[in-house]
């Protein structure tokens, strides 16, 4: 009954790998890295600890890049990056960050990322599984205007939960005055860090980029606080799903557009039809037309009516007997904070109205799910 992993290719390790082993992390291959899926407390306790106290996550597998303008003017880097994303990067002021997507010519999503303006350059955080392709894309498309500098010598940790701010404020002078999506270089424990007030759990919290050589001491110092516990990738996934946040490669990928993925909120008016810098990114014709005319399918929240979790890949049907699937589940798990199964998936727009019922096929049975509002657990960002 226990799946065995195939013989893995050599896995990369983050600077916190020794700490994961020392703290009893159960290690699994993830995006080419040997990563902790959970610690001895287990996924349920780790999840609930993050929602009530503060959880510390190693996300050093993610890609960190600096985009330095050759002109010395950060707005030139911002204009250049706008060739690749449908977001208004020029409007991101120094000390702020924004959620973005790299798109392809079909309007599909190549990766999703965070873009911060650090005053004289842009700082990007991209997904682990996409970082090589993202770097190649940036080099191919932006080298005229920018120097692309992968920051491989930095770790990245997330400190998430209602007590995160009190914990970080002990080590970082202005942590408590930062607002959601503020980002920039900060001294933390005297170290040269990049701090943003953001995360992937729906909770208030921070992501902190730390010099790799200092990462283990940094993490141990945070863990010395009674409020803080280490959290593995298992709880990271259940937290982000409760928060209705997309996982790249599951809920969004090169075949889904930002409009289909219900991410229109992330595309500012200046890049839409009639805006000051409308279009000019890959797939703009399709994405902008979809914003105006709607899409034939849409990402939705789904709540199974029974207790059985409905997993990624389960096909969705209009009723208990129809043979043609409407779509499929892209993320599905059990939500520890609401103590019920939750899922996200794609449905044809006529079936995507909140409150409607669809059926998922699980082990030969059709289980009813209710189309639900996202997020499943309200966000607690400090705006």
């Amino acid at each position: 009954m226990l799946a065995r992993d195939a013989a893995p290719t050599p896995l990369k390790q983050t600077p916190l790998h020794p700490l994961h082993l020392a703290r009893g992390g159960k290690m699994v291959p993830f995006a080419g890295y040997d990563m902790p899926v959970q610690y001895p407390a287990g996924v349920l306790k780790e999840h609930l600890h993050t929602r009530t106290s503060a959880g510390l996550f190693d996300v050093s597998h993610m890609g960190q890049l600096a985009l330095r303008p050759k002109s010395g003017k950060v707005e030139d880097a911002a204009h250049a990056l706008e060739r690749l994303v449908p977001q208004d990067v020029v409007a991101v002021t120094a000390g702020r960050q924004r959620y973005a997507q790299f798109t392809n010519e079909d309007g599909g999503i190549l990766d999703d990322l965070m873009v911060a303006n650090f005053g004289d350059h842009l700082f990007l955080v991209v997904n682990a599984a996409c970082k090589a392709e993202d770097e190649a894309l940036l080099r191919a498309q932006l080298s005229d205007a920018c120097i692309i500098e992968p920051l491989a010598d930095r770790a990245l940790v997330a400190l998430q939960g209602p007590k995160a701010v009190a914990v970080l404020a002990k080590h970082c002078a202005d942590a408590a005055t930062m607002r959601f999506m503020d980002a920039g270089p900060r001294k933390v424990m005297g170290l040269d860090c990049f701090v943003s007030r953001s995360g992937y759990t729906g909770e208030d919290g921070f992501e902190i980029s730390v010099p790799a050589a200092d990462a283990e001491g940094f993490a141990n110092a945070l863990l010395a606080d009674d409020a803080v516990a280490l959290i593995g990738l298992g709880a990271r996934d259940s937290l982000r799903l409760e928060a209705g946040l997309c996982l790249y490669g599951h809920d969004i990928d090169p075949t889904t557009t930002p409009v289909e993925a219900d991410l229109v909120w992330s595309i500012q008016k200046s890049r839409r039809n009639g805006g000051a810098r409308a279009g000019g990114f890959p797939g703009a014709d399709k994405i902008l037309a979809q914003i105006e005319n709607g899409t034939s399918r849409k990402r939705v929240g789904l709540k199974p009516e029974g207790r059985a979790p409905v997993r990624d890949g389960a096909q969705l049907f209009a009723d208990a007997s129809s043979s043609e699937p409407l779509g499929s589940v892209t993320s599905g798990s059990f939500g520890p904070s609401i103590s019920a199964p939750i899922a996200m998936g794609y449905l044809p727009t006529p079936h995507a109205a909140i409150g409607g019922t669809v059926f998922a096929e699980v082990r030969g049975q059709r289980l009813p799910l209710r189309v639900s509002n996202l997020p499943f657990v309200p966000h607690s960002y400090k705006r």
Partner: protein
Amino acid sequence: MTTLYTADHEWLAVDGDVVTVGITNYAQEQLGDIVFVELPKIGRQLKKAEAAAVVESVKAASDVYAPITGEVLEVNDTVSGEPALINSDADGKAWLFKLRIADKSELDGLMDAAAYQTHTA
């Protein structure tokens, strides 16, 4: 009453022509927090190695196979109502189902406690 084990981490307590089936403590440790259990219907005729029940952690679903051929006589409704019982008492209160043994010779290929310990070492 003897307890036997499968390579797939089920335990069987044999009592006359009835076996009680559960998952081992080793299996629950590997699976982590169990949040859902689906049990077979009473009266179902299970064939050896057929998927009989499902246990799900936050992360994944795992099949529990019928360790031998037989008819389902009883299921543990307590564990479907409280899946975490598997984490606290896998080889006791969290038994899953009982089967009437169709062919006692099928028990011959199963492991005893010492062999199972070696299997999971």
